[in-house]
């Protein structure tokens, strides 16, 4: 397993290098740290969340509610700071706790009631985006405007740069990537996540509390979504209830592209990180270097996803190709 994964991660790494070479040769501005890191804000939420959605998918589940948790976090943070007078960091903590609660509700239904993860988190995405909207109505500020005017210390979370070059968000992402890596690949907990995903029965026969493990992954992915929400709020300087609405598809794409098996049991933090960056660079480089319109970018991303899954399917089952050739299905 490790060998195969390593190989896939190598492929991703090569694609990333290739992207850099092509984009840099097309437009030298691409490599300027200011430009390169300036692009990071658009992709950082996807990168952060996909790291922990990987956990969910390794257990064989799926999480399509993370995007709505981003909005929920943002608005809870904004309202509790502006209207309830909480300290901005206390407000952030509250937002994280709310997200963890949301994740544990969905996780409970998946793990302990046996409801399909897709349906639960679909319901969750409605529920939590709905709650976010209701929370925004609690504010004196009208919801479409968003809550702004955050203190300098909070805004600087995303404005400060290490050595004047690397933005804080990148540091946060790298830190979370390291945490995800350690959790998943170095701890007993991470091993349990894999085992539950490979064979939940066998995990139960090994005395692993598979339900608790599954539940915990939904809590983690929700917490990561709330961290992404805080970072995004800080960068935008505005708290809104719908800022995560479009994130679901990019997150799942990154996780699958990162080598996570959608049936569970296989995946890696490094693979997901690389895939998220590969997608991010594509979305950044194509418009910058080839004047591809921002709106067209779903096509290359979608194509990459399709090519990867089709390629894997054919590699795993050469018979399918033979059947195709014969023209009978």
């Amino acid at each position: 397993m490790k060998k195969a994964l390593k190989r896939w991660e190598t492929v991703l790494f090569c694609i990333l290098i290739l992207e850099f070479v092509i984009f840099a040769s097309a437009n030298s501005k691409f490599l300027m740290p200011r430009v390169l890191f300036g692009s990071i804000n658009d992709i950082i939420p996807t990168c952060i969340i996909s790291l922990f959605v990987t956990f969910v998918m390794i257990t064989g589940g799926i999480d399509i509610q993370a995007g709505s948790i981003v909005g929920l976090t943002s608005i809870v943070l904004g309202v509790s700071w502006q209207d309830w007078g909480l300290n901005i960091w206390a407000a952030s903590l509250l937002a994280i706790l709310v997200a963890a609660l949301a994740g544990s509700i969905s996780g409970y239904f998946v793990a302990y009631c046996g409801v399909q993860p897709m349906v639960v988190t679909l319901g969750g995405s409605f529920l939590f985006s709905g709650i976010a909207l209701l929370v925004s109505n609690l504010s004196a500020t009208e919801s479409y405007k968003g809550i702004s005017g955050f203190p300098e210390s909070f805004v600087s979370l995303s404005k400060k740069k290490l050595f004047g070059v690397i933005p804080n968000q990148v540091i946060i992402f790298l830190a979370l990537a390291v945490i995800a890596y350690i959790l998943l690949h170095k701890t007993k907990y991470g091993r349990k996540i894999f085992l539950v995903g490979v064979n939940q029965n066998a995990a139960e026969y090994s005395g692993i509390n598979s339900r608790l493990v599954i539940l915990s992954t939904y809590v983690l992915s929700s917490i990561s979504a709330s961290i992404a929400g805080i970072v995004l709020t800080s960068y935008l300087g505005t708290a809104k209830s719908d800022i995560g609405a479009t994130l679901t598809m990019p997150i799942i794409t990154a996780v699958v592209l990162g080598g996570t098996l959608s049936t569970g049991g296989k995946g890696s933090a490094l693979g997901t990180s690389l895939a998220a960056v590969v997608i991010g660079m594509l979305r950044f480089g194509l418009p910058l270097c080839f004047k591809v319109s921002q709106q067209y970018l779903d096509i290359p991303v979608g194509l990459i996803l399709l090519i990867v899954v089709i390629g894997r399917s054919i590699a795993n089952n050469p018979k399918v190709v033979a059947k195709f050739a014969k023209g009978r299905m």
Binding site: N137, Y296, D298, I299, V320
Partner: protein
């Protein structure tokens, strides 16, 4: 009496009763809701979601999923609307749109049924590509200035205040419902989702059935796109964004199980009415329509959790009964209820 109980147990009937109860409840709070106009409007306005939910119901019944229907709606609407704007015959516009839907569905079907790729992942990729192609096709611009004759169609009544679009859709849904539940080939869809291995044993072509389900789903999404065009009067590149989630939710509300093999088209269309009426109902109840998503989420989760828990309990009970029967053989005693009548 037994028949009646059985009827109550079927999901589409309980969904329908839920809808009636909902209407009556709102009527109690605000009697003006009980006017035929406002009730009929609940149905008329659900037409786009009824088509989307009806189409995806085919896919879900076979045990798969399709998250590309929002984009399919968007691209067929964009192409159809452009043709109409440029003076094409409406027949050509509609047929072109429907064939686009069929092609997208075919691609999905081949990927899922032949290549055996998990349907969520594959249709997610297709969704991205199709969504991007809308921008390529429209160059990011709105498609406007459609012929008034076409946009007026959406208000055209068929009978009384029932619009022609909803009338046709409803008729189509009812016909297909009977095709699915009463005809031999129609039952294949449910059979494949219900027990794929068993379907193979009795000679049902599972692969072809799944491909057909996706094609139907694509065509329905395209039809929804053309009606959407008529109702809205212009097409933006984001048309149909995240409609797939609402269509799936409508199916679940209408009693369709996402694990396949369970549910009906009528159920899906009732779910679509509930789904698209929630905001209207909220207004009549004096609430802000901001509660829309929250209510949808709560409904969705409550329904599936109850369904799953009761079903899992039944499965466990059944297993225990089987095991108990083994030990009971010796004495000839039986704990079973409702055994064979001799």
């Amino acid at each position: 009496m037994g028949q009646f109980k059985k009827l109550l147990k079927s999901h589409e009937v309980s969904s329908f009763l839920f809808l009636v109860a909902l209407i009556l409840l709102v009527g109690c709070v605000n009697p003006s809701f009980l006017q035929p106009t406002s009730i009929l409007n609940c149905f008329n306005d659900s037409v786009v979601f009824t088509l989307l939910a009806g189409g995806i119901a085919f896919v879900i019944l076979t045990g798969e999923i399709d998250v590309s229907i929002g984009a399919t709606l968007g691209i067929s609407a964009a192409v159809g609307a452009t043709l109409l704007r440029d003076g094409s015959n409406w027949m050509i516009a509609v047929l072109t749109a429907l064939s686009i839907g069929a092609v997208v569905g075919l691609v999905n079907g081949l990927g899922v049924a032949v290549l055996n790729i998990p349907s969520l992942i594959f249709t997610l990729g297709v969704n991205g590509v199709v969504r991007g192609m809308i921008y390529v096709y429209t160059k990011g611009a709105w498609v406007e200035n459609l012929p008034p004759a076409y946009t007026k169609l959406s208000n055209q009544p068929l009978v009384g205040q029932l619009t022609i679009f909803y009338g046709i859709t409803l008729a189509g849904v009812i016909i297909l419902h009977f095709v699915l539940t009463k005809t031999k080939k129609g039952k294949y869809f449910i059979a494949v989702g219900d027990n794929a291995a068993g379907a193979n044993l009795v000679g049902i072509p599972a692969v072809q059935t799944k491909i057909l389900a996706y094609v139907i789903c694509g065509v329905f999404a395209a039809a929804a796109g053309m009606i959407y065009t008529s109702r809205i009067g212009f097409i933006t590149p984001t048309a149909g964004n995240s409609y797939e989630m609402k269509a799936i939710a409508a199916c679940v509300l209408g009693g369709i199980s996402l694990s396949g093999g369970q549910g009906s088209l009528i159920g899906a269309s009732i779910g679509a009415v509930i789904m698209s009426s929630i905001s209207r109902i909220l207004v009549f109840l004096g609430f802000s329509s901001d509660y829309d998503n929250t209510i949808t989420g709560v409904l969705l989760i409550t329904i599936v959790v109850i369904n799953t828990v009761t079903q899992n309990k039944a499965i466990l009970k059944n297993r225990h009964q089987i095991l108990a029967a083994r030990t009971a053989v010796k004495t000839g005693e039986t704990e079973r209820k409702g055994g064979l009548q001799q």
